[in-house]
Every structure is written in C-alpha cells, then in structure tokens.
Symmetry: D2
Subunit: 328 residues, 4 copies
C-alpha cells in the first residue's frame, strides 16, 4: 500500500497518451475498482480522453497529485453504508493543500465471484475489501455462515487473487470485475442495502475554484483554536447566522491527543456566494485553521434553499447601505 | 408643551450670536433644566460659544433640528432611576432621520425650593416634573407625607411657578435652579438615590458619524420584519457572533398594534469598526428596517473588551484570506 | 400623588359594602379613569358586585394591596402607543411580592371636554394626563397648534379641573368622563391612532395562580446575576430551547447604576405547563432573582402554538423515559 | 471475521471456570490483541478472575453479549490516531440495546516482529491490521519504502502468520505479541506518534448504570427526526443550556440514504446528574430516537467543570422553587 506505486505506469495508463507526455489522472486502483468506474464516468464527455493511472492507496494517489505526477486523482470520500473514508479525510486535512474539483456518486453493487465450477457449498475462504465485506454482512451471514473472510486491499485485487491463486474460493467485487478475469458470478447483487452509494471526489492541486453553477457545495477542514466545550456550537452558529446549510459534518482526531478533533464540513453554496464567503471569513477568525478544500458543482444538482435575507442581492444591498452610513 | 416654541427666540439664546445669524443649539428647556446644564458642559470648550435655545418639549427640540432651526439639540434619553425617556426614543425612531453626535451623563440631584420664610411644616402643595417626583419618592413620603404633588412640565418651570405664584408652596428642582429666582432651599440633596444620573444625547441632522475614537458607542433602532417569537434571539445572535457587546436594549410599541415593538439598541464600538459594521449589515438583511442613529464617543471613555478574533485586524486578515481563495 | 390616599374611603367606594366590611378592589383613580372602566368590565359578571375604591397612584393602589386594605387593584401596565407603564413595572418588581390575577385590554378613545359655550377657537390651555396628550399629539398639533398643554395627574382629574376652575379651557379625557360633570364634547375620538388599546392587570397578594385555561400568559421579572454581555441571549435561549414564546420583553433600570437593568417578560403558557415550568426553573438557576408575577388567562383567548416535542405529554413521556434509564 | 467464532471456546477462556459454567467476558481477539491487554488490566483486581474469550470481530463479540453467551465484551471504540471504530459505533447504535459499563484507555505501541535471522533489508512483505499500518505510516515510509503491506485481521493474527508461514517477512504487532511465538523484534516503538492511545469500552447487556462516581461520562446515540439543517445546532443547545460539556461527537450514516446521519455523543457527567438527565429528556423530545448507552466512570478520573447554576443542588433548589409557585 505504501509502495511508491505512483511512479510506475500501470495497466490503466493509456500508453498512447504517455508518449505525448500528458500527465495522467489517478484513481484508487487497481483496475476494476469503483473509483476507476467513477473516474471513467466523469471523463466520459472529455475529448480526447486523458490518460488515467491506478494508485495503490488514497495516500499515494493524492501524493502523486502533490508531486505533479498526476494532474488530479479520483478517490472515495464517503459511503452511504460505511461512512467517511478516513484516509481521504486525513490526507486532505494535512500536507500541502489540495482542492476538490468535482464530486460524483455511484450506486455500489457486488457480486460473489468464483472460479468456474465452484459451488456456494464449496466456499470456505472469501476475500474482499473490508468496506465491501461490511456492506454484504447480512448476506454473508445467511449464505456463507461458516466461511472465513480475509481482507484484501481492494475488491479488484480480491477478484484477481481468486483468479490467480487457489488460496481463496471466492471474491466479493464489482459486477464488472469478474468476467475479464474468467470468473463466474456465484451470486449477484449481494449488498445488504440495494440503495448503497459511494461518493467520490476528484482532487487536484490547490488553485482557484470553478465558477459558481447555482448548485454548488463547499468543503472545509476546521481546526479548533483550543478544545473548549462550546467550540462546535460557535462553528455551527457562524454558518446558521448567515443562512448556510450543512450537508456533512465529520470529526476526526488530530493525532495529537485523545479528544482533540478537527472537523470536515460540507456546506451548500459556493465560496463566491456572499453568505458562504462571510461564513468562511468568520470561521477563519474563530478557528486555529480553516482549510478551504474547494467549491464545486453538486453531483445531485440540487439548488440550495436560501433563507430570505441571505441572497447575494441581499448581501450587496446591505453592504451598500453600510457604505452609506459609514464615515468617509 | 406642543406650542411651536421652537420658533421664538428664548432667553437662553445668545442675542449677540443671533445677530450674525448663527443657528442655535437647542435643549429641553426652560432655562435651568438639567438639559441646559448638560449642554453648557458639553460646549464648555467651544470658542466662541455657540448660541443656545430652550425648547418646550423633546418633540419641538428635535423638530427644530429637522427643520434647520436648530443646528442640534440636547435632550435626555435615559435616567438611571426612571429608565428610558419614551419621547426621545420615539422621536428618534420616526420621522426624518436624525443622528446622535455626542452623549453626556450628569449626576442628578434635587433641592426643595421654597419662598423665603416658608417652613417645611407649612408645605401643602409641591410641584415638580414627574421624573423628579419619582426620584424623590421616599424622601417625600418621609418628610412631607401629607403634601400633594402637582406635576409640572419641567423642574425649572416648577421653580418658576413657586417664585411667581402662591398656588404652590415648594418646588423640587436642580440645585442651581432656585437662587436666581430668589428661592431658598428648604432641603438639599433629596433624591432617594444619591448616585442617580441622567444620560443626554446631542442630536443633529442625519449625516456622517465622527471618526472612531477607540471608545465609541453605536445606537440603532430595529423594526422586525414580522412579529415572530425568535426574532429577538436572532437579533442578539447577529451581535454576539461578531463579538459586539450591547449596553442597552429597549423595546417600544410601534403604535400599530399591541405586541408590535421596535427595539432601541446601544452597542459598543463604531460603525467603522469591522465587527460593528458586519453586525449592522446582518441586521439590515434580517430586519424590516434598521435606523442608524450614529456612532459617537462614549461619555465614560470606556474602551470595549474585544473578543479575540474580532479586531479590525482580524477582520482585515479574514477578508484578505477570503479574497485569496475565491474564484476571481 | 403620594398622599396616603389609600386609607381614606373615596367616592368610588360602595358605602353599602363598607358597612359589612368587605375589603374593596382598588383601581387607579379618580373616578372616570380608563382603569375604573376596565375594572367594572372585569367585575361585570360578579354577583354581588364587590366594592371598588379609587387610588391616587399606581404606587398607592398596589401598596394598599400589600397592606390588606384592598383585596386587589387594577392598574394599567402597557399601552399600544405609549408603551409600558414604568410605575407599574417598578412596583411589581420590588417590595413584597404581588401577583397578576387577570388582564384586560380596552380600546382607548378621547374626547376634548369643555364647559358649555366654549368654542375651539377660544381654547388656550388644555389639561390632561401626559399619556393622553401623547396619544392625541397630531390632533392637537393640527386643531390647537397654539394651545398650551398642562399635565394633570389623570384624565379624570383633568376633566374635573375644567369643570371646577376657569384656569383650563379644555380637558382631554375619556368619552364618558365629561357629561356627569356637565361638560360638553368640543371634539370626539381625537386619539391619533383609532386602534390604540391599553392593557390593565388586576394585581392581588402573592399566592397560587389560577388553574390553566389553555390560553394563558405568564409574567416574570428577571434580575441578572451580573451585567455580562451575553446574559439576555442566555435568557432567551432558556425559553426557546423549551419552545416557550415571548409576547413582551421590557428592560428597566434597577436604580442602582446606569446600565444595570432588570427585565419584565411575558411568555405564552402557564407555570403549570411543563415547558413553562422547566424554563422558569432554568431561569431561576441562571438569574440572580426570578420574580414570578403569575399565570393568568389571556384577554385575547389566543391559544399558544406549541412546537412539536414540547407539549405536556411530550414532557411526561420524556420524564418517564428518563426515570427508566436512571440508576434507581 | 464473520465466522460464528463466539460459539467455540478459545485459548483465552479459562477452562476451569467453564466447568462451573461461568459466562465468560469476551474481547476482540485473537489472543495478544490490545483489546485482550485492556481487558486483563480492567479485570486485574477481580478475585477470582472471570474467564475471558476471544471473538473474531466486534460484531461477533457484541452479538455474544446480546445472546447471553458472554457476560460482557471489551472492544475498541476510538483511537487517538485513527479515530472512531465504525464497527463498534454501528453495533452499539443498532440491534438490541447494549450498555457501556466501563472504559479504559491504553497507550498503543508497536514492534516490527520477524523470524530470527531476518534483517530489515530482507523485508519485502509486511502484514498487520490496517489501523496499525496507519499508525506506523511514516516509519514504514522511511524504513521500508519498498515493502508491500498486506492487511491482516488483527495485529495478533499478523504475528501468528509470520511465525507460521514464510509468506510474510514481518508483522507489526504489540510489544508483547512476538516473543511467545518465537519472533524477534527487528524494530521497537515504531508508531509515528509515541502518545497514541486507544480507548476501549466494556459492553454489557442493557440495564441500570452504576452509581455516579463524580467523574463520569455518558454515551448516547441520537437519530434525527428529519434531516433539517439546524438539527445539530438544536442538539448542541440542549446540552449547552444545561451546562453539559461534550467530549466526543461522531456522525455516522444511518445506512438508509447518503446524507442521513446519526450522532454518537459522549458528554461529561452521569445520567443521574440533574443537568445530564434534563438534557437527555430534552433530546428525547427533540430527536426521533435517543439510545442511552450508559453512564460510567471516566478512565482519566477527570471531574467535570460544572458551570455555576447547574449543580445538582442548583437543580434541586430550582425544582423546589417551582413547586412553590405552581398551582396545587
């Protein structure tokens, strides 16, 4: 996982494009992952298709972006069943600043892939990524109560392991992962929650956010000035007083001491929106550090419900009024 | 009280200045009131002394300012015993906008003035302004339990009435009010609370506030967009989230319906202070109307305690940071 | 005003009842005031009619209640034009505890009463209570721009003065005040705001509040523990977190130092309502002093809009749940 | 991981006790884990020592408690580096109610265990639990930049794998994990953060909490009534208005839809404390569901700083006062 895998070209890289030395777009690999599927979907309309490259871990994918070895990287950030992806939150919160350029959500489904001829009753050892295992927990309990589940680094590598070795009898992996490897689906759509989705973000070097679309989201990382009890209440008030709605709040340890957290927050709107900008400036004064991770179009296209008195026009009017009453 | 007394020159007007047609500064008269004393104190350092003019009511004094017949007017706004002066709050909240240019507080003390020869035991009818009566309530109850108290339009006119007619036996008025009229102090310092003070404001036409001094106060009138239960909580939050402290909050009926109020609010700081300005802009978006009544030096010279993260420098830094992360 | 008028029987006292020694119900007199009218309305359904007695001031009326010389007293507390009645708020906030037993609101209208034969053009001196003057300000300015207005202790005493002496030419008083005195209405319905009302409260010795009616109001006086900036925000939060709506908030000086206030607050609901009781207990812990002035039926009969989760049933359920999870 | 490992006795079980059929206390196994170490520390003073039993997963350990096959189970809940343990939070938030009986924190340190004779330079494949890998990320990057790290189900099983097979060259595991297996420490104390700790909780069937100790913590799971923007602000206000400090807040997906979260919250104090109880009752009214996970002695013995006005005595006084003013 910590191999410097970013430096070596992978099967996912279009060799043609490498010849003209176009920096690739990375993703959490190997080939066959949901991250790759999400990236291809995101790039579907691009012409010509930029080269892509698999990375062995979120860390290595994002480090490649920081080093300029990848133009951007697509990594999972949140799963509707398993929750936030800690590695992604932590990498975005530390090190050289990065920025989220886009988000995309994918429904998540799994098949149980076996070598041809294997029957359900024969399966003793299953391999998959722990998140996939968690999402198929009930199915496994019912269908394979006695099987041992061994963690793999990704669902794609789990499928590859089943195809290549006799150690495992089956792999839980994406619906498209098995056939190219000659595997057979012993069971389909085995995720416990048929509506499970994973949200991925395309991360690029820090820079200017894209222009507002009217249906945007802004992501922040907030570090407290000190660990005082009312700090979170103050943070939420900075948003609410300006009419900015939150869509996600996650606390993560700062790795310094137990009980010392930072917060990753998604809010509705774009940093260029007056209400969002003023809230961010307020947080900048309140917090020890505010890391702006970007404003980008929402995948669901949902426009925010803006409280009366907090539109850009309302802010412009109040600023104009204030200018008028101030001393000159 | 409602005579158009503002139009006629009064004894308090310096005739010398009138010749060169300098617009006078008004005060709540007649001569001998605490308002006059406060004005003279405020003007003590002015050279040459501007002319002054007594007005028969707060309304007529402020109307004279609106009409240009007085350059400014000094009126009482709050008493440490009796509370706010409703006429002043209401006049400032309605009609053409005015502005508070300065404030001054005076200790309030009273003597019982009688005609020479009158003994305490002889006193049956006392006259004074109702506010003065209220501030001497306990003394009257103890010293003159059987005397009738008749309201006068001012403590100064009460003293004049005792000097001029035999209807009243005594007047409660300022320590300096009786001697020029040939009266004798039957009792001195009769206010129940020896520390009572009255705050006066110098009101001028609407315009630009003076530059910040570092120890300023800002006065506002706020009208709600609708009478909803949480409105006041929202108003207070607009201040507190920017670290602006209030020193006064008064509700007054809007004269439309029972239960419909406006608020007069004094806060620490100057409209040019970033935290005050942003709070005012927030209130402008929240309220149906915000009337800015001025920023002016505090009489007590007390500098505000500014919460960390809310200084002008903190605001400038956060604005600069915001500019840096925005799209353009 | 400060005469010990409570001790002497007045014209308003029913002598028949005095014979059987029934303690009278007081009101802010003299006879003919709006307070008397409100009290008679409140007592209309009582059989037999209790005796009533006029008092010369709010202070003397409430003192009579404290001394047991009046069973209760009806006094004005708030006017839709002039705002709160400071004397009433201050008397309720200090001294031996009293309690509001009922409230009643009356539309307020005024006539201009003159001696027969007086024409409008003849009127040079008008007398009335300052509140009445304030409510007829615009009419006076238009109809009698040159008349002097002299304050009287009540509108009823103003009418009596016009009837009895030649000093005043006219009195502003209630529509019923003049005819019994042989006066003639030179003008009718002269209040500037035709919808003006005054709210009166019937005050009795401290005791148990009446049972809830479902449309109740609760009145409190709150003294801060110290004068810190966020105190009012904390007070409002104690109410809002339990879903209790405020209908009135008034600040008044404590008479100790400028800037030291107490708050008179009316909220929806009855102290026996769970949400109101818990809010009051919270205020009791937060404030230096909470003075409970009673829970009583609203004059307008308006039932409160109760936020989901704050009904008595919701509170009972949550208390039961809490009992279940606690150690004992 | 999902094997029904709870049903089979493990090496960790005291056979002697099984004979007399004492229900064992479970832990997240296998033998040699930090969970086992934490449990032994917690049980150090017990006499006789209760039997213990390793379980293959948090889920199976807690399921054993629900089924009565374990009297309690010790599982990790939070790590100062890696954050919350999702499996523990999710298991406690769903299914039959459980309760936290105690907490314990352990410093977390790791050695790199190899077979005798293996040199650092020889190491190509390392195995360990992903959390341990994350905590040694920087050390691995520096010392073994080219090694592949393969996830294991626990640090203990990783050590066992190195001892038993030639597939892996080294294991990252606890300082006590290698020697009993005949392994040698190629490197010691390799965690990036020398102060890293993990917090474990002892979970038992739902019942009454232990009596307050004066230094307690309370754990809750809160489900929102609906996903509205201000819900979290309301939740935090329920705590802050009663002076209850939070020590942890974690959001986790409800597994229904993206953006639908529940919150796991730790607060200072015991459910029997008045301020905590009232806050919990308030949350019960506000939230769709409040799951009480217990009040228990804090491992750090830190007594809460209680805001003036929120002690048990203050609550008792205010309740008594309220009783006195209510109708009877």
């Amino acid at each position: 996982m910590e191999r410097r895998d970013a430096k070596a070209p992978r099967a996912g890289t279009s060799q043609r494009n490498r010849l003209v030395d176009v920096t690739p777009i990375g993703y959490l690999g190997p080939e066959g992952t949901f991250s790759q599927a999400a990236l291809l979907l995101l790039l579907a309309a691009e012409e010509p298709q930029p080269p892509t490259q698999a990375f062995g871990s979120v860390t290595s994918a994002l480090e490649a972006v920081r080093q300029g070895e990848a133009a951007a990287a697509l990594v999972p950030i949140e799963n509707s069943v398993e929750g936030s992806v800690p590695a992604t939150l932590d990498e975005l919160a530390s090190g050289d600043p990065l920025m989220i350029a886009a988000e995309i959500s994918l429904p998540v489904q799994f098949n149980l892939w076996v070598r041809p001829g294997t029957q359900l009753a024969d399966i003793k050892r299953v391999t998959t990524h722990p998140h996939a295992q968690a999402q198929c927990r009930a199915w496994l309990h019912d269908a394979l109560p006695d099987a041992e589940v061994v963690p793999a680094m990704s669902t794609a590598s789990a499928a590859a392991a089943v195809a290549g070795e006799q150690i495992f009898d089956a792999a839980i992996a994406a619906p498209w992962a098995g056939e190219p490897l000659g595997l057979h689906a012993a069971a389909q759509d085995i995720a416990d929650n048929p509506d499970a989705t994973t949200r991925f973000v395309l991360v690029r070097p820090h820079g200017q956010p894209p222009a507002p679309t009217g249906a945007d989201k802004t992501t922040l990382v907030l570090f407290m000035r000190e660990d005082h009890p009312g700090a979170l209440l103050q943070i939420l008030t900075e948003f609410s007083v300006r009419g900015v709605n939150l869509t996600l709040i996650q606390s993560r340890p700062t790795r310094k001491a137990m009980g010392d957290y930072f917060f990753t927050i998604d809010c509705e709107g774009h940093v260029d929106d007056a209400r969002v900008g003023e809230a961010l400036a307020g947080l900048h004064r309140l917090c020890a550090e505010v890391r702006f991770l970007g404003s980008y179009a929402r995948h669901d296209g949902k426009t925010p419900s803006i409280r009366p008195g907090t539109t850009n026009t309302d802010f412009a009017d109040s600023t104009e009024w204030l200018r008028g009453i101030r001393a000159r």
